[in-house]
Point group: C2
Chain length 219, copies 2
């Protein structure tokens, strides 16, 4: 397809597509004339992945590039590629390490992970992500105890087990590394709003169920 | 305490505190002189709640006001107050109802909720939130089947059950409505980053566990 068709089908303006091509975020099309090229489904798919990472994941183009580079580095094992993707996905979270409450929040996270017996590298950005959230709760006098975090950790672990089973099954079935990382990135970033929306729906359901008279608990 | 002390302890600039006072987001302090007032722990707590809703929840001041108004309306039952809080919390999500894929995504959400047997009002903003997420996945050719969403729904339901038990227990123990909504708002908004961070940590743990040689799977 021509670049105009690619733009129409992806909803991404032609100028933006040209920018991604110049920046090497997408492979060039197949030249058909001096100023024309032909694009296919792989371009459309790549374009949609970039837009999803930017718009839903809130990632910078530098992080998108890091993920795409990891996908294309065939020397990396699956765990390393997932790690690269995870670490790139975390770049939009910022840090707060100059805050006086920071060391205590990080220590809480480290103690929780020891308690759970989870093996997570000491520099994992999700440790900082959790510490930030705990710091906010601490300021509201709403610090959870370690026991109060366990239901969330258990739910997270159930999902992670399910997700890693899907990924390792795909790997055993000879899916390409690019497909597996595509799936991992989608699973990590794009299922976050799915999970949060379902939690709010479940909260409304449970609230209706428990706090409403039965005749009003219908939708 | 004086407003300068309130500012120091909350980290919120004096000018911002004065703005919240003018906008009625906080009750006035007890006047001690023509241009001075005394503030207490309830002011500090309210200020921290506002900042958390704005900074972590990404809410507009209009939504913060809607939540605070619901908290103070003693004619509302707990389910209605939680609903008000939930609906206000959703205002930062935007909508996409003019998108051609929107009706199909909303129909998928409605079918999923029927399937789950969840009672959720037809106008609940979390329905739109989920539809938006599903629309993005559909564009990436990664639309989940209803069965593929069940593990996420099950995890969400487990957490919601746990959370509503905590809230109804607090209500039975004669906690004030304001305290319960404070807890509900914190639970809804501020545990979202907790849950997402724990999911990423669990993913790294499971990935290390399954894809790494044992001697490298230590932190």
């Amino acid at each position: 397809m021509r670049i105009s068709e690619l733009s129409r089908r992806s909803g991404v303006p032609v100028a933006t597509i040209k920018y991604y091509l110049r920046e090497g975020l997408m492979p060039p099309g197949r030249p058909t004339a001096a100023t024309q090229a032909d694009y296919d489904q792989t371009h459309l798919r790549r374009l949609r992945l970039i837009r999803a990472l930017v718009e839903v994941g809130g990632l910078s183009l530098a992080s998108v590039r890091a993920i795409l580079t990891a996908v294309e580095d065939t020397n990396l094992g699956l765990h390393e590629i997932l790690g690269q993707a995870h670490y790139a996905l975390a770049d939009n979270l910022g840090s707060a390490t100059d805050d006086p409450d920071w060391p205590a929040a990080r220590a809480d996270v480290d103690a929780l992970l020891d308690d759970l017996g989870w093996h997570v590298t000491i520099g994992a950005p999700a440790r900082d992500q959790l510490a930030r959230a705990l710091m906010t709760l601490r300021r509201l006098d709403a610090s959870p105890t370690r026991e109060e975090l366990h239901p969330y950790a258990a739910a997270a672990h159930t999902l992670a087990t399910h997700e890693l089973t899907l990924l390792t099954t795909a790997a055993q079935n000879d899916a390409s590394t690019s497909d597996i990382v595509h799936q991992a990135v989608i699973g990590t970033v794009l299922y976050e709003p799915v999970l949060l929306a379902l939690r709010r729906l479940a909260q409304e359901h449970e609230s209706a169920h428990r706090l409403h008279p039965p005749d009003r608990a219908r939708h």
